[in-house]
Symmetry: C2
Subunit: 295 residues, 2 copies
């Protein structure tokens, strides 16, 4: 196992900008404690994150990840982030890591120490989970009620739906519930019956010649991998569509996938106990293009 | 300002139990980093907590807090916790702290390092916020939609409603929303109109000679301070009641309070911009008894 590389980042925009980006980054040992027990990241899950996929040293979707991080920061009223310093921190973690075919970088920004609230941030480059099993054999998925109406991000923005926060205990709990039901993964359904997202992924379905993903105005994340996939399917002659998707449309789809920066693309082969159709050739073509892209 | 005292706890039940409780506790410096960046407490808000009130060296409601911690642990499928060691950790933090009239102890248990998942835990004794302003002058409160139906804990237990988790970013966001609206605090209302709880407190209302709090089968926390308060009001000749409470009943109540282990009891003097009646003598009598109790 290769060693993870940790870069501690001083992420808030400073006025005036005295220090160069390099002065605001430092390498640290991820096996040693780095966080104080009064950091709001750990006492309140009060922070945000992004996970970057890195294939053969190429960091995917850098700008979409940074843009989403900035959106999450605004939703949490965090101080303005210096995206240039953060980008350099992610790149430094990758450069300092042993060269491997596949790497993940987890970038975290917390609100910082309670009472001081100068953000804490770091980038951790590590060899993640091996996703080849789910990519090739597919996933058994159960749908679970997310409890919120599909329009809750509009009506109740304080619920932080659509922000990628550290408050992810629920996203881990639903995976345990899936496993209790003999499945691997989850697709959330709104309390009024709309398909939302996975706890760590975007949902894609194919209906005839069209690839469809749920609209992000339902308090779900804009998927960086989904965005790249839509470019790929369009280049292959398919249409792509963002729209509201009801649960029964998912049941009848010609194909369903979960996509994310780690797994890239995994076909859903069973939904709530029923087998789903699968086009292995298409799955493999899409996965190959996704992993080879430079965006 | 007095120095906070930090006790690191090894909290999981060990089989066979070799070590004595003392061997599983150690004092550490809260000003130094103690947590690794791969701890699921910080990367996923995947853990639980309790906050103990300590008045003149007396730790309040030790057993109710430990029982609630154990319930939260079960809801998160954490390993079984050794409550005896945890209790001793809380007591040690208090003993090692300088003697002060009012102290808080924050107890945290996380799922531990990702991939290892041996829980991380600590107790931090510190002089908390000064609540005398809110206790004596009262609180301006706004009601905000919690987004969930009142029965969501029954229908969708994977949403972890009713567990006191570290995933509290939302509980901080709603306080910012309250401040934007010129208020101090929040009472959550379910999407179907039931009064739930505050982001860090239990809601109490008085209707004539009865003190009422919302039933906890609505995915809200059992309040340790509320429980003590009900004992006190009964000894004063009032009735007490756990039941469903609709929003309009709150508007018409003869008194509304928020209670928690830190603030103990604060009267609500304004609700959604409308002044509420207040009985200062009663407020003061209840607060005095709450702070003097030993339970």
């Amino acid at each position: 196992m290769t060693e993870a590389v940790l870069v501690i980042i001083d992420p808030a925009t400073k006025q005036p900008q005295g220090a160069s980006p390099g002065d605001r980054l430092r390498l640290a040992d991820p096996a040693e404690p780095q966080i104080r027990v009064t950091d709001l990241g750990i006492t309140r899950g009060d922070g945000i994150f992004e996970t970057f996929g890195v294939f053969d040293g190429e960091i995917q979707a850098m700008q979409p990840h940074l843009a989403r991080l900035a959106r999450s920061a605004r939703m949490l009223d965090l101080p303005e982030l210096d995206l240039e310093v953060i980008e350099e921190g992610v790149r430094l973690a990758v450069r300092e890591h042993e060269s491997v075919p596949q790497l993940s970088v987890k970038l975290v920004v917390t609100r910082g120490i309670e009472g001081i609230e100068d953000p804490t941030a770091w980038a951790l480059a590590f060899v993640g989970e091996d996703y080849s099993g789910r990519q090739h054999n597919g996933l058994k998925v159960v749908t679970l009620d997310r409890g919120y109406r599909h329009d809750v991000a509009q009506t109740s923005p304080w619920l932080l739906q659509g922000a990628k926060t550290l408050s992810y205990a629920l996203n881990k709990a639903v995976i345990r519930e899936a496993k209790r039901r003999g499945a691997d993964e989850v697709i959330f359904i709104s309390s009024d019956g709309y398909v939302l997202e996975g706890p760590n992924s975007t949902v894609i379905m194919r209906v005839d010649q069209s690839f469809v993903t749920p609209r992000t105005d339902q308090g779900i994340l804009e998927g960086t991998t989904q965005h790249a996939l839509f470019g790929i399917v369009e280049s292959l002659g398919y249409r792509s569509e963002y729209r509201y998707v009801m649960k029964d449309e998912l049941d009848r789809a010609d194909g369903v996938w979960l996509v994310s920066s780690g797994q890239q693309l995994s076909p859903v082969v069973e939904l709530d106990g029923r087998p789903l159709v699968r086009d292995i050739e298409l799955d493999q073509a899409l996965l190959k293009r996704l992993m080879a892209r430079t965006d």
